[in-house]
């Protein structure tokens, strides 16, 4: 996937400079899909025993990988990543800057702190001429982080998955829906902290949905 169309309006996003080629003119900074809601998300923070907070982590590098997990190409990719490709729904693996999330029996999402074109290029080199694909999908989704003691209750208002610790825990990531929005839902720790990956064009709706769902935890619990 190509870089997102660059916006020359008001920007809060970081300039990755990823587009700076040899004609090295000034590059318009990228605007994250939720830059316009940053202040409202911050204001929605609830503290205390029923606390919950919402933030966006924009511009995380993401590469979509498809390859036969039994192939030699998969072995090479695992060496490049330094982590095995998870073989089961819900599983993730991690190594250095990369986290690999299971999307399907022959499909993974590689989340990375690395520079986006470099990550895709490395994986593509490992794949070589073998059947499969590596696509930089960094602009496809954005990342919302929802954390705090009430975070699970907020999600449970609109997620059909069982989020109880018996079924979901740190290191698990599953594609599902929150409200009407399809997301990849990754639980990071026991706080609990969740990262939600909606498609960029649905992020605005999802953020507003979450802000609304968080608001009741400001007050005391109604018995």
């Amino acid at each position: 996937m190509a870089e997102p169309t660059l916006d020359t309006g008001a920007n809060t996003g970081a300039n990755t400079g990823a587009d700076a080629g040899e004609d090295a003119g000034p590059v318009a900074p990228r605007t994250s899909p939720l830059a316009h809601l940053a202040e409202r998300m911050r204001a929605a923070t609830v503290t205390g025993a029923r606390g919950v907070a919402l933030t966006e982590w924009p511009f995380i590098t993401m590469a979509d990988l498809r390859v036969d997990p039994a192939s030699e190409a998969a072995d090479r990719i695992e060496k490049t990543l330094g982590a095995p490709l998870p073989r089961q729904c819900g599983h993730t693996t991690a190594s250095g800057p990369h986290t690999v999330v299971w999307l399907g029996p022959d499909e993974w999402l590689v989340l990375s702190q690395g520079e986006e074109t470099a990550v895709a290029a490395e994986l593509r080199e490992a794949l070589g001429e073998d059947p499969g694909s590596v696509v930089d999908v960094s602009a496809n989704r954005t990342t919302l982080e929802l954390s705090g003691p009430a975070a699970r209750q907020v999600l449970e208002k609109g997620c059909p998955l069982d989020l109880h610790p018996r079924a979901m825990g740190p290191g698990r990531a599953v594609s599902t829906t929150v409200g009407p929005i399809a997301v990849l839902l990754w639980q990071v720790d026991d706080a609990p902290t969740y990262r939600l990956f909606p498609r960029s064009s649905f992020a605005d709706y999802l953020a507003r949905w979450l802000i609304d769902a968080m608001s009741e935890y400001r007050g005391p619990e109604i018995p």
Binding site: C89, L103, G104, P105, E107, P160, L161, V174, S175, T176, T177, A182
Partner: protein
Amino acid sequence: MLLIGCPWCGPRDETEYHYGGQAHVPHPETPADLDDRQWAEYVFYRDNAKGPFAERWVHSTGCRRWFNVLRDTVTNEVLAAYRLDEPRPELPQAGGNR
């Protein structure tokens, strides 16, 4: 709400899936030889079973894979879910405690 067991992801709510019509409808081996009636029958004509019916579903918001489901069209009970490369499973005979 149906609870459908995706062969890769396990049981999920019906809202995560989309329906794809009758399963095991083979593409004609020589489409060019079909007359209009035969082509129409391949494209449009489907069984309207009362009882167990094999149909295609896709796990749209999950693993995005197509698979087959055996569903009883009378009770809406999901009897089995199986991958596209697996044969239609044999069902226990009617009666019993279904």
